[in-house]
């Protein structure tokens, strides 16, 4: 078992004929993901990556391939938010938006639209998700992951890879690793993913990687109180000075909420062990698993 994604998931790639889209579609396919089609308006009827058909619209792609997920590489200036809404309108159950730099107001509209359509959006500006050994949707390096009992959910890309490598190195594998992205407006938040891990029988422990800015970690902590499974957490940017922008738009400390200490306190209070250093995570997880 796993969450959200497995071998059966049929994935289409929006902007598959672009540089990024094509490159990662190939890597996904090589990892074992069922990449059943691509979408690029105006390039319908082409075939890429040997046998992957390209369609002009998501609707057509879904009708012809039975896709159950979409991975979006459409550039922000090319209206990535519209691409998200197109997938939602076509009732694609799982939409993963890799695109970074989407204007916040576009995301406000897209996230609301996705909710209305009753489908799930992960991202934007996220690395995607992977069920090690089964399939991946996104841009994470597949080879560092190992199948195993730990669910990981994270706001940061490379930071997650670091956690995964450290876990894999000591022989602790992952059920599913979900990168929710670091933007202020997101389709899926910690609190949306945690219940899935809680319900997944194969997941025995969860690692939550947060960072400064926003209050998603505090909201997650509320939910963690009710969880039966152990959670290890890490907050990145704890030494960053207030009010400094750190790349992720989310990483702004504004006012009273979002301070790293508030997050650490909330997580500790909820019983989620907080690691001071990334290096400590494997040991902490190992202890909780045994």
């Amino acid at each position: 078992m796993s969450i959200l994604l497995n071998k059966e998931t049929k994935v289409i790639v929006q902007a598959i004929t672009g540089r990024e889209g094509g490159f990662h579609a190939r890597l996904m396919k090589e990892y074992g993901t069922q990449v059943v089609g691509g979408v690029t308006p105006g390039k319908g009827r082409q075939t890429v990556l040997d046998d992957v058909p390209v369609f002009n619209t998501v609707k057509q792609a879904v009708e012809e391939t039975g896709a159950t997920a979409s991975c979006i590489f459409v550039r922000a200036e090319h209206n990535a938010a519209d691409a998200v809404m197109e997938a939602a309108d076509a009732q694609v159950p799982l939409i993963v938006c890799i695109t970074e730099g989407i204007p916040q107001q576009d995301m406000v509209k897209a996230v609301d639209f996705v909710k209305q359509q009753g489908v799930r959006l992960i991202g934007g500006n996220c690395p995607g998700l992977i069920t090690p050994g089964d399939a991946k949707i996104g841009i994470m390096p597949g080879h560092i992951h190992t199948p195993g009992p730990v669910g990981i959910v994270s706001r940061s890309g490379t930071l997650t890879y670091e956690v995964v490598v450290n876990l894999s190195r000591v022989g602790i594998g992952q059920t599913t690793v979900v990168g929710i992205g670091g933007d202020p407006i997101l389709g899926t938040r910690f609190v949306d993913v945690l219940p899935l891990f809680e319900a997944d029988p194969e997941t025995k422990a969860v690692v939550l990687c947060g960072e400064i800015g926003g209050s998603d970690e505090e909201v997650a902590a509320e939910y963690i109180k009710s969880m039966t499974k152990p959670v290890v957490s890490f907050i990145s940017g704890r030494t960053a000075p207030e009010g400094k922008r750190m790349g992720h738009a989310g990483a702004i400390i504004s006012g009273r909420s979002g301070t790293p200490q508030a997050k650490v306190d909330a997580l500790n209070a909820a019983g989620a062990t907080v690691a001071d250093s990334l290096a400590d995570i494997p040991d902490m997880v190992q202890k909780l698993l045994s």
Partner: protein, 378 residues
Amino acid sequence: MKIHEYQAKELLRKYNVPTPRGEVAETPEQVREIAERFGGVVAVKAQVHIGGRGKAGGIKVAKNPEEAEEKARQILGMDIKGFTVNKVLVEEGIDIKEEYYLGVIVDREAGRNAVMVSSAGGMDIEEVAAETPEKIAKAWAYPGRGLLPFQINRLIFDAGINPAVRKEAAQFLRALFDCYLGVDATLAEINPLVVTGDGKVIAADAKIDIDDNAMFRHPDLEAYRDEEGAENPLDAEARRRGINYVHLGGEVGIIGNGAGLVMATLDEVKRAGGNAANFLDIGGGAQADLVANSLDLVLSDPNVKGVVFNIFGGITRGDEVAKGILEGVGRLDVKVPIVVRLTGTNEEEGRAILRGSQVIPAETMQEAAREIVRRSRE
């Protein structure tokens, strides 16, 4: 992107949001000339990208042109929390009868734009929010539909805005929200929102932040970018070069890929007893040129005593980063230690490229942090 009050008010006027008559000036003489044309009382207001101008003495009222020039002389060139005042806004005096607070922000948790109105205008709104939250009326705009008339109505009633100016206040709110959306703002704050003696509703102060990600839709707003008043010239330089850099003032330069990873590296450097000179994220898929350029930027900081690279290859390829480091090292005559931690995609190739150079390899980020802190003290 932060913009100045006078720029924010320019945008507000485009959307028919009432503002006081005002002009921007860079010399005391210009201020006097403007004050002469306006006649009567004027306010001289420092234009800097930092809050708390008022308390710092950056806002002064003058009764006549001579006084305006004098006040301008005090304000121009002043240092406010590290920002130098290069410009002042000269505004006609307004007859303040009541003061309110009005703010529009992107509410991350709700995923919507939130509008806040409070009768506690002119005060520190965060204090109000913490101590008397019931004094702040709130509404969340419906995505796609905007702020609906009944919501505007409710905000006005709930905030206790003077019923005599209900219509004017509603128009103000609608226009302000249109402006907020129209310029892709992430924040628009009017504090205070003033009701004048003759029943006008007017933006006495204005703060607008523009979404950097939306600037491609607003090429005209590029002209509003003002790095001159920024805290550190390196931040401005980074912006010009398109590098995601934040100056932090310590002695250890930090370069990595991915904001979360770079922040974690900051934390590790701190744990090892060092102080970060900067935050620098080369992002995903960086080419050698960007890496060399980044190193160049970090080393141009005279405080920097050492640089640590923390690279986790995914889209970013280890060999590209390694090439970039050598290119940067070759271009400059690097005197400080450089520690490189390189893993992930093409890590072997990357390490091979660096072998034999002055660069010091590290296995983990913890090791890299310890190593650079130690070496930068030597």
